[in-house]
Structure formats: structure tokens, C-alpha cells
């Protein structure tokens, strides 16, 4: 039990306000949702962007398959229902991080428009910034890159329901950002993402 009462403890009824949060975090925060084909470069951009923002002192966190599929969503498979639930849960976690004032970088193929729109709606209803970033690349280029050999397996029929091969990728119709990784360097892609994030006020 506390014998002493700290003198700097003051609190009010109810939750931390948005203004109080912003003053603490020194930024507004929000979600940047990277969507695109496998091997489009989503995660590569997000990884580099996280480092840059971190160096700048902007609270930032990245969500991707590595920290979601083996954790929060480890009990989900790849059925249509599970894919939708996968994106739903990720969207809810993004909303929490955005509400915490963190610049949240989500990097998922997220091929279906309806799933992405649901995540956008979650944020908009809560008054939280949401930037959809379409990481665009020609299928032929993604397939040429194929760093994990997944396209090859999909073409051979060893993987079923692979986005771009035997499952559709529904490109965003009105994304806030488009980054084409087929015709620019990683540095240019990261600079474009930074510019979009700054314009949208997430870091200020």
C-alpha cells in the first residue's frame, strides 16, 4: 500500500481526451493500410517506413503477417470466412493503435474491397485517420520477383486460392495513396508514403 501520495496526480472523470492524447504523443496518429499483390512490396515499404518514422521520433507500429498470423489470428485459416475475420480483427487492432495516437502501418494483401472498406468505416466512425495505400505492381513483375516461390507453387496448383492467380485482387477505387513499385526505388516509395502521411497530418 502507498504510504505516500505523489503530488503530481491529477485526474478527471472519464477517458483521456483526443487533445490530451495528441499532446502526449506529439502527433495525431492513424492507420496507413498497405494493400496489394503478394510481392508487390507492401511489407518492404512498411518496414523501411517504420524505421524512418521511429528515427524521427514519431510513435509508430507495424502490423503484418509475421506478428498477426502467429499471434492474434493463429486460430484462423484461409477459408473465405476466416479471411474476412482475419482482416476484421486486424482492422479492430489498427483502430485501437490509431486511437492510442500511434501511426499504424498495416501490411496485408487484403484483396477484397468489402473487407478494406469495413476497416475504413471503423476508423471513420471513430473519427480516426485512415489512409489506404495501394501498392501497385504488374502481376508479371510480382510473379517475376516471387521471393518465397509462392507464385510458382500457385501456378503449379500446389497452392489454391492464391491472389492474382486463381483468386481475384480487387484494386482500390479511390485510395488515398498509390505507390507503384515497378517503376521506382524503395527510397522513392518510402518518400511518397511519408509525403502522404505528412499531408494527412498523422505525424503532426
Amino acid at each position: 500500500m502507498a504510504q505516500q501520495v505523489a503530488t503530481n496526480i491529477t485526474f478527471h472523470d472519464g477517458n483521456v481526451t483526443r487533445d490530451e492524447r495528441k499532446a502526449c504523443m506529439k502527433q495525431t496518429g492513424g492507420t496507413v493500410w498497405f494493400t496489394g499483390l503478394s510481392a508487390s512490396g507492401k511489407s518492404t515499404i512498411a518496414v523501411a517506413l517504420e524505421q524512418v518514422l521511429c528515427q524521427q521520433g514519431n510513435p509508430v507500429y507495424r502490423l503484418d503477417g509475421d506478428n498477426i498470423r502467429f499471434g492474434l489470428n493463429k486460430n484462423l485459416g484461409f477459408s473465405a470466412e476466416d479471411r474476412a475475420e482475419n482482416i476484421r480483427r486486424i482492422g479492430e487492432v489498427c483502430k485501437l493503435f490509431a486511437d492510442a495516437g500511434v501511426v499504424t502501418l498495416a501490411s496485408f494483401i487484403s484483396p477484397y474491397k468489402a473487407d478494406r472498406d469495413a476497416v475504413r468505416a471503423l476508423h471513420e466512425e471513430a473519427g480516426l485517420p485512415f489512409i489506404e495505400c495501394y501498392v501497385e505492381v504488374d502481376l508479371a513483375i510480382a510473379e517475376e520477383r516471387d521471393p518465397k516461390g509462392l507464385y510458382k507453387k500457385a501456378r503449379a496448383g500446389e497452392i489454391k486460392g492464391f491472389t492474382g492467380i486463381d483468386d481475384p485482387y480487387e484494386a482500390p477505387e479511390q485510395p488515398e495513396l498509390v505507390i507503384n513499385t515497378g517503376n521506382q526505388t524503395l527510397e522513392q516509395s518510402v518518400a511518397a508514403a511519408l509525403e502522404g502521411i505528412n499531408s494527412a497530418g498523422l505525424c503532426s
Copy 2:
């Protein structure tokens, strides 16, 4: 597409390191898990603590029934299986926030030791600080407070499986912190929590 390349973009292979994260957040972060009976004062303490940490400039976020049950876990009920999944998902989200360097305040009855221990293990495996804070109060006092009339309903048999009435509360055996809200003020409880968090190095 970016016409200009920002000059301050530098990045390395792989993820942001723990040291880089700490430099950005100006703190280590970690999870503080408040457990205790309904009406023990868990959320009251967490709400006040979040305000105090926020005022101090420490990145902090609070998870509780309000932002979890109606969001991430809205598709879960109160069966034994769903209760376990509820705490599992919350634990995974805490781990993500802690990994992001945020001081994460989780406020859930979480009556079963096994569920809480699983959350602790998740953090320990990842090398992330985890503080279990037992918010202790006599059942009689909690029942007297009964701000939402839930104990009354449980006694009347209108709510089944209510912790402390017809479902057990398994008190922590070795919690890092114990706060008894039956014999101290909210200011004292918050001061005790702050002292525990500071001693554990979450804010530094």
C-alpha cells in the same frame, strides 16, 4: 509518384530494434494487467492512471471491456471457450502494444489463473515486461458498491456464472502488485500503481 527523394531517409535490413524503439518512445513500455472482482476498482484505477501517464508524456493505452467487447471481441459470448478466447486475444493485443513501446493498461476481471498465466507467458517469451496487478477487495465491499447492479442480478439468479457468486475468482498467487481498494483512496491506489510501474522500468 515521388519526384523528390527526402534526404533524411535511411533504413537498414529488418525490423526496428528494441533500442531504436525505446529511443523513439522515450520509454520501455510493457503491460500492466489489472485483475479482480467486478466493482473492485480495476477500471477506475486504470482510467486515472492513463490520465496521469498521459500528462507525464508517457505513451499509454488502456484496454477494457468498452473498447474490446464491442470491437475486436464482439463475436465472442460468455461460454467457457469464448471467455478463454476473449482473454487470449486481449493478451495478444497487449503484447503488440507492449512491443510498440506503449505502457498498456489492461483491465479485465480475468478470473482464471491459467488464462492470465498464458498472457504472462506470451510476454515473457517475447522479452516484454508484464506486471500482474491484483486489485483486491472483499466480496462484501464489491457487492455493496455494485455500481451496475450486477451482483444483485447475480444473487437473484438473473445472471449466471457471475464471478464471485456462482463462478470462482482465482486470486493471483504471486502478482507483482497488490492494490487493496477497500482501505485506500483512489489517489493512493493510483500512486501505488505508478510506483510499481516505475520500479519495473516501464516508463524509463
